[in-house]
Amino acid sequence: MKEPEKDFSRFHVKSRFMRESLMDKGVMESTVKENQLAILPEHNVIMIGGKSLMDRGKKAMYPLVEEILENQPNYGMVLSVSGGLRMRHSYSVALDLGIPPGGLTMLAGTIEEQNCRMLYALLAKHGGVRMVRDNFEELAMYLYSGMLPIVVPMPPHFWWEKPPKYGNIPADGADYGIFMFAEVLGARSLIYIKDQDGLYTSDPAKNPKAEFIPKIGVSELLARDMEELIIERNALEMLSRARAINKIYIVNGLKRGTLTAALEGREADAGTVIYQD
């Protein structure tokens, strides 16, 4: 008996993308949207520098925690701490061993977990709660009950790190991850707490003539192509493409009041503002 002709046709679900290539420029263009739904628009996302604050211990962290708690009645906040020195140490050992960037990402997350646990210990009696990524959809519950969720900032790229543009260090690190977190939520504000007043024309620790930049547009900043930056390049790249977050604050966590100024939107007292231009 003759074998029947094979039917290679597809089972389709009818949609505007049916049979289309999602790589087609016209199709991509057709998905440009004016509006993006804000998921949690009333809350703020705060990123605490690992090397700049947590690694300094009590003298840096206790006053910062006090300031966070002073703002707790007025502002809902999601908190995060990056890795700092131990993360850099893991990176240097792993690099020497020949481990690829995805492996470095896996190691970085572990150090951030440690720092987030320590922040949790400081905040537990005030409603601090660790939110693991799998519980992302419980965030509303934490925030609307007045708690202070603490999240790991690295994005969940795990072994699937994108090959970096420069060298072998993951380019989508903590600053990038927390930016994407705030962006997808459509957060009220995003504040990076560091140990400098904000952005300078060069590193003020090395060059006393470095000039402070209180406010700058992100495309102008990227066009300057500076040798180093206070925040990851890819976080700035995301700010330039963002649909929800239109500015970020960089404040000095060693100076009392700068976090409050940023939460209140008093730009002049809140370090550096980088805005989407």
Partner: protein
């Protein structure tokens, strides 16, 4: 290029910003291969799985036969027509791209599970990120590990260059797995012979491109591509993968040919 020693890098890490281009460049080196010789294969969602048995069974037969001959094969699933439907609804609801990535992933997961059910009797095993470090065991046992192609970025998906559909989808996750594990190529099974100057389904005069480099392809600035655009960017920066190959899985024997390292469809090379 002179590269700093690990000790020197650690000294610099303590005093310099990790955003320093000079410091980052000093960390450049070729990584080890985690699982040398691994074959990374993606089975297209819309192009293969959505066609059902007629398309998929013969491809899996070839995969099983090649595994039996000792090739370490890892399979990845695509999304396809249901992912597109989910994207359309999420777009209509004006959800952020992170949510599109989070609703697109589960469809690829369904397809990975279907592959596992078909391959179970031949050692097909579905693994999540939690089992990723057990790959050496699975290969040693002669298994065929199967993963969803979608990278785990979900809500942390980057903002797309254009529009709202996530840039990093199943072609990307497959590519990045290969790059991490130390594969030297990634195979994409689709329903076209490879790359054309235009979509051959729409324009029968479209010309076939058997091989090309990333930079040549970028210069052509094609309106449509057969592989996710970001994959080309990652290929240009890859340390392990030298080329990706897209070929037609509906042609009998192509899977075996490609797995044997023979030029089967379109090869896109890193420059």
């Amino acid at each position: 290029m002179p590269k700093d020693s690990a000790k020197r890098i650690w000294e610099r890490f303590q005093n310099e910003s990790l955003t320093s281009k000079d410091l980052l460049a000093a960390t450049d080196r070729k990584p080890i291969r985690i699982i040398p010789g691994v074959k990374i294969v993606k089975i297209g969602g819309q192009s293969i799985t959505d066609r059902g048995r007629a398309a998929l069974y013969p491809i899996l037969d070839e995969i099983v036969e090649n595994r039996r001959r000792g090739k370490k094969i890892m399979l990845f699933s695509g999304g396809g027509t249901r992912a597109r439907h989910a994207y359309q609804i999420a777009l209509d609801l004006e959800l952020p791209s992170g949510f599109l990535a989070a609703v697109g992933g589960p469809i690829a997961l369904q397809n990975a599970r279907m592959l596992q059910m078909l391959l179970a009797k031949h050692g097909g095993i579905h693994i999540g990120a939690e089992q990723f470090e057990m790959l050496p065991l699975f290969f040693k046992l002669g298994c065929i590990p199967i993963m969803l192609g979608m990278p785990p970025y979900t809500y942390w998906e980057e903002i797309p260059l254009k529009g709202s559909i996530p840039d990093n989808r199943t072609d990307t996750g497959t590519f990045l797995t290969g790059e991490f594990l130390g594969a030297d190529s990634v195979l994409y099974i689709k329903d076209e012979n490879g790359l054309y100057t235009e979509d051959p389904k729409k324009n029968p005069k479209a010309e076939f491109i058997p091989k090309i480099t990333v930079s040549e392809l970028k210069k052509m600035d094609l309106g449509d591509l057969v592989v996710e655009r970001v994959v080309l960017e990652y290929l240009s920066r890859a340390k392990n993968i030298k080329f990706i190959e897209i070929f037609n899985g509906l042609v009998k024997g192509n899977v075996t040919k490609a797995l044997s390292g023979k030029h089967t469809g379109t090869r896109i090379y890193k420059d």
